[in-house]
Amino acid sequence: MLREEELKTFVDGTTRYFEVAAQQPATIGSPYLLEGEPAMHDYTGMINISGKREGVVYFTAPRAMLTVLLMKMQESDFSHESMRDLVGEVANTISGNARRDFGHDFVISVPSVFAGEKPQLAQPSGARAFVIPIHWRSHSAKLVVSLT
C-alpha cells in the first residue's frame, strides 16, 4: 500500500514538471485520501502501474489550465487533440520520474486519455488513493495516486 512518505516522490515530480515545462512553479496543496468517486476535470491522462507495485496514477485538469500551459510551452495548437496529448504527457512524465525512487520494476503503461467521460479506473482493491491538489496560476488540477 502506498505510504504517505512515498507521496513526496509524486509531489516533487509534479513540482518539477511545472517548474521546468511551464517555467512557473505550481503550488501543491496538502495531499488527502480520496473517498468515494474521484472528481474529474475536462481532461484526464492515466498511467497504469505494474511490476513490483500495481495501481494507477492520473492527472486531471481543466481545459483552461491546459490552454495556458500549452501557451507557456510556446505551443500554438490548442485543439482537443493537443489537450489529450498534454494530459497524457504530464501523467507519463510524473510517473516515469517516479522510477528514480521506486526503481526499474515500477513499470508504467503508455497513457490512456479521457475527455468529458468517466475513466475506467483500474484501482487495485484495498489500495488507498491519494489526491495531490495542484494550483497553478489561477487554475486547479489534481494528481491522483493509488498504488499497492
Partner: protein
C-alpha cells in the same frame, strides 16, 4: 579554408525525432538551435521510426522510450543493427539508472530526462553532434 571543426559545423546533420507525443515532437523541433540540423522526419512509435529511418537515413535520432507498438529500447536495438554509426539521444521520463544503462548498452549515446529545458536539450544534442 576553415578548421576541421568548422567543416563539421557546416555539414548538414539529419535528425529524426521519435516520441508518441505530438507536443514533445514539436517542442524538440522548435527548441533545437542548430543551423546544421535538418529534421528529416518525426515518428510516433518505434515501428514508424524504423520505417522512416530506412527512407530518410538520419545521422541523429531523439528517442522516447515508452511508446505504443514498439518501445524505444527495441527500436534502438534495431536501428543500431542496420546503421551502426547512428547517434541516438534518448529523451525519456523514465528516471531510474537501470533504464539509462540499458539504453546505452543497446546503443544509445546520450540520455536526457523529461521534463527538460531548451538549454538542456541543446547541450545534449551538442554533445552528440561534436
Amino acid at each position: 579554408m576553415g578548421t576541421a571543426q568548422e567543416a563539421v559545423a557546416r555539414r548538414t546533420i539529419r535528425l529524426l525525432i521519435v516520441d508518441d507525443s505530438n507536443i514533445v515532437r514539436r517542442r524538440i523541433e522548435r527548441s533545437q538551435q542548430f543551423d546544421e540540423l535538418e529534421v528529416v522526419g518525426t515518428a510516433a512509435n518505434g515501428l514508424e521510426a524504423l520505417e522512416l529511418a530506412r527512407r530518410t537515413d538520419p545521422d541523429l535520432v531523439t528517442m522516447d522510450l515508452t511508446m505504443p507498438q514498439m518501445d524505444g529500447i527495441e527500436c534502438i536495438t534495431q536501428l543500431v543493427r542496420f546503421k551502426p554509426a547512428i547517434r541516438i539521444l534518448v529523451i525519456s521520463a523514465l528516471a531510474d539508472k537501470a533504464t539509462a544503462v540499458e539504453a546505452m548498452e543497446r546503443g544509445a549515446n546520450g540520455f536526457l530526462n523529461k521534463p527538460f529545458t531548451d538549454r538542456q536539450l541543446n547541450d545534449a544534442i551538442a554533445e552528440l553532434m561534436y
